[in-house]
Symmetry: C2
């Protein structure tokens, strides 16, 4: 196996090394596309299971819309086409012939979904209409990094229509709240919630809510977004309903999505020099059992016990794997499963068998004196479940502390421009709301990640006029 | 709501009417593509859940491969390109530019998956490698019918590599056995298992196993297939492994898939003049509760009881819906839920409340004297679970009997050609194995659906030479 690049001094290469070596992904012959290998895809399946359940609790139903969208649809919403047309992949030929009208491979599905909404929504009785789709989308990006930025990626996209603006705002916020809980409670990633500025919002949206986080290298990553679309798309696609007084109205719409990109965030946020650390509540393998033996007699007894322990854990819905590979030493196995980020390792040798206990090892604990514990076999389930919670909390707190350390209060661009450019980090400051001031950040490679709910700063970071809102500024992925 | 076309005299229009009226699908602005509406997609989700579990039990792991495949890949396996090139959708432009090499939207993923297998398989220790993908695929067909034949459809595709031919055959048969159980035990569709002829097998396969069924109109429908690919694809994509003696070998591969097409079969197989009948083990809504009341006092009491009953059923994992819609009469609700094929209707009125029972109605039972039963509220779970099994068995047996009635033994094409052309049906006969005899069926619009395991016929249906195998002949979807 390849040695991982140094995480402190070469974070970019470390990321690349770890996702390939841990077999989350592989490169593919399709430009900018990656194969999600079984271990990486299993992680996405776990995320899907949790998120799908939460989405359904809101009364949202899954459906499936065509991959190929008539090219003319994309141009119907003016801002949408400006935002997406440089990134479109276009099917011009099919069935051996040139098509009369080309199709684009969906970069997102607002256009085709609102076309359908126009057929399905007639009366206020048809509202709210809440639809979600799990799908692949294609955006022809030029720079690629697996999970973080790829031509094809997987996501869910929620699309809803409501009778009132207030209900739409509430839905967009509810989606964001679901994402926040998912990211904090399962990914162990602390997130900051805020609103995008006019220049950073989704092409066609009235308002874009975002969850941002700060990676260990001090660059921000947009985790997911939720948009109040208002009337833009419904008007472009002639979606109308008759209200309870018989008047024709335009519904208020939302869309919201979370992608495989969040797996990239998880890798960066928790990994270390030994490899991945996967938070226990999402881990495809939560515990790996390594049998340790020398003689044939020991081997029989140890493997039997290992399988018993595994069965016991499986019965409590713990995802466990017994590593029975005979070609590798226990040491090599430790190394391989650390690389893959399995949160708990269980060692079982002849002495452990004698004492009817196992050794439980916490992947996330760096302190060697705290890393291991002996656990009586009668106590496995409660101990490992507590350990999962401990590991989750350790990962979350470590990430939170790091973000807090890199979160700076600043008054004037001149004060933080140098640091932003050279040391990254998150800068909270005041803003007058003017796009011209925002544009000044470009030459320092920063952007406003979001408007932040505090008003701790009185003047704009650039023009010094009164601030209308605090903003968070950072370089970003 | 639209009246459904007559199922006896106009089966084609009835099918079209029922899938649209029951809101399984809608047409879309993309040629030959359909929207899977929430009710139709929920059915697919139920199928996925069951099948995914069974696939994983075989040690197969899910993964995800790129949607877009370099055009040159498709041409690497000679028979494969002949089979698929007329149906390809091609991305020629992306990111605002003409691409140097075009990409095809995957019609199936053998080519890109074997390219990856060549990187992942080095030694006999890497085998067997068993991968499955849930995905959308695109085939530019010219005639379209929702579920049965559409440009884009959803499926799973399993792809495996093995050290020996025997293991590959076993895997392909295991996949077929999983499909057979799924179709018979969940869809309530009797299937016939057999092998495709040379001219009907998958483009690039050594051998194609198939499950066929016969629809009520006497036309056969291919439910799913499982292929022993042998060395064809692995050789074209340079997949090699070192065996345990150090010799380089080519692995033996399989692929197998089941698509949303099977939903079309389910609709045709079980539906009646009132609409869909969804087999209970797959139904998104297994039971619908209709509260019946006149006065406000009745309403309060009945709705409270209806919700109690619903909660009780939900606790036993039964998918139940209470229809609280105030705009429709109970009669209109009966009609609407019959159209949607919900297998059990529960009626709850003031007299039922008084007697602490409900009325349970079996959607699949035509005999009015047997259709309804009074069920004491203490007995709901056991009764409804038994009723689900009864309905499943009724649907299966009814389908089986119909298939048996349409299954004819025949010796010579001249004897059954007229019936095949005019009355459809399944014809079991002998075959010499010669493609020239098989080709004679074309002018009668029939094909050999599969080689059948019996040898009940001595001579070929056309040339009268000795038969090498019985075959089943029918028109097909």
């Amino acid at each position: 196996m390849k040695k991982l690049a140094d995480i402190q001094h070469n974070f970019v290469d470390w990321y690349q090394d770890v996702i390939f070596e841990a077999e989350l992904v592989d490169s593919s012959p399709t430009k900018g596309c990656y194969v999600l290998r079984p271990y990486g895809f299993a992680l996405w399946e776990n995320i899907q299971k949790i998120l799908d359940k939460e989405i359904k609790k809101t009364g949202t139903q899954n459906a499936y819309f065509p991959l190929l969208i008539p090219e003319s649809f994309i141009t119907k919403e003016k801002k949408h086409v400006e935002g997406f047309s440089p990134e479109l992949a276009v099917v011009t030929h099919a069935g051996g012939e040139k098509l009369e009208e080309a199709y684009v491979v969906r970069p997102t599905s607002e256009t085709i979904i609102y076309h359908m909404f126009a057929r399905w929504i007639k009366s206020w009785r048809d509202l709210p209409l809440k639809i979600n789709q799990w799908a692949n989308v294609v955006r022809w990006e030029m720079r690629h990094r697996a999970f973080l930025r790829s031509v094809e990626f997987l996501w869910q996209e929620g699309h809803t229509a409501h009778a009132t603006h207030g209900e739409a705002v509430e839905m967009a916020q509810q989606a964001l709240a679901i994402y926040k809980k998912l990211l904090e409670h399962y990914y162990a990633i602390p997130v900051i919630s805020g609103m995008k500025t006019e220049s950073e919002k989704f092409a066609g949206a009235e308002r874009t809510y975002t969850l941002e986080s700060l990676m260990p290298d001090g660059k921000a990553l947009q985790m997911c977004t939720s948009h109040v679309l208002g009337h833009s798309f419904p008007e472009s696609f002639d979606v109308r309903f008759q209200d309870d007084k018989g008047t024709m109205q335009v519904p208020h719409c939302t869309s919201w999505g979370l992608t495989t990109r969040t797996i990239g965030a998880l890798v960066m946020m928790h990994g270390d020099q030994q490899g991945l650390i996967i938070p226990p509540r999402l881990a495809p393998i939560q515990a790996v059992i390594i049998p340790i033996y020398k003689t044939a007699a020991e081997k029989t007894a140890i493997i039997q016990k290992a399988n018993e322990v595994a069965q016991h854990l499986q019965n409590a819905n713990i995802a466990v794997h017994v590593d029975l590979n005979e070609n590798d030493s226990p040491g090599a196995k430790f190394y391989a499963w650390e690389l893959k980020g399995v949160p708990v390792r269980i060692e079982l040798g002849p002495k452990d068998l004698e004492k009817n206990h196992v050794v439980m090892v916490n992947r996330a604990e760096a302190d060697k004196t705290k890393k291991k514990q002996f656990v009586p076999c009668d106590n496995l389930i409660t101990t490992i479940q507590a350990l999962f919670d401990t590991i989750h909390e350790q990962l979350y707190q470590k990430a939170l502390q790091r973000i807090q350390q890199q979160w700076h209060q600043a008054d004037a661009l001149s004060d933080f421009a140098h640091a932003l450019e050279n040391e990254n980090g998150l800068y909270q400051t005041g803003w007058c709301g003017d796009a011209a001031c925002e544009a000044q950040l470009k030459e320092h490679k920063g952007t406003i990640r979001c408007r932040y709910h505090e008003n701790a700063h009185i003047t704009c970071f650039y023009c010094k006029k009164p601030s209308v809102t605090d903003v968070l500024i950072a370089k970003s992925y």
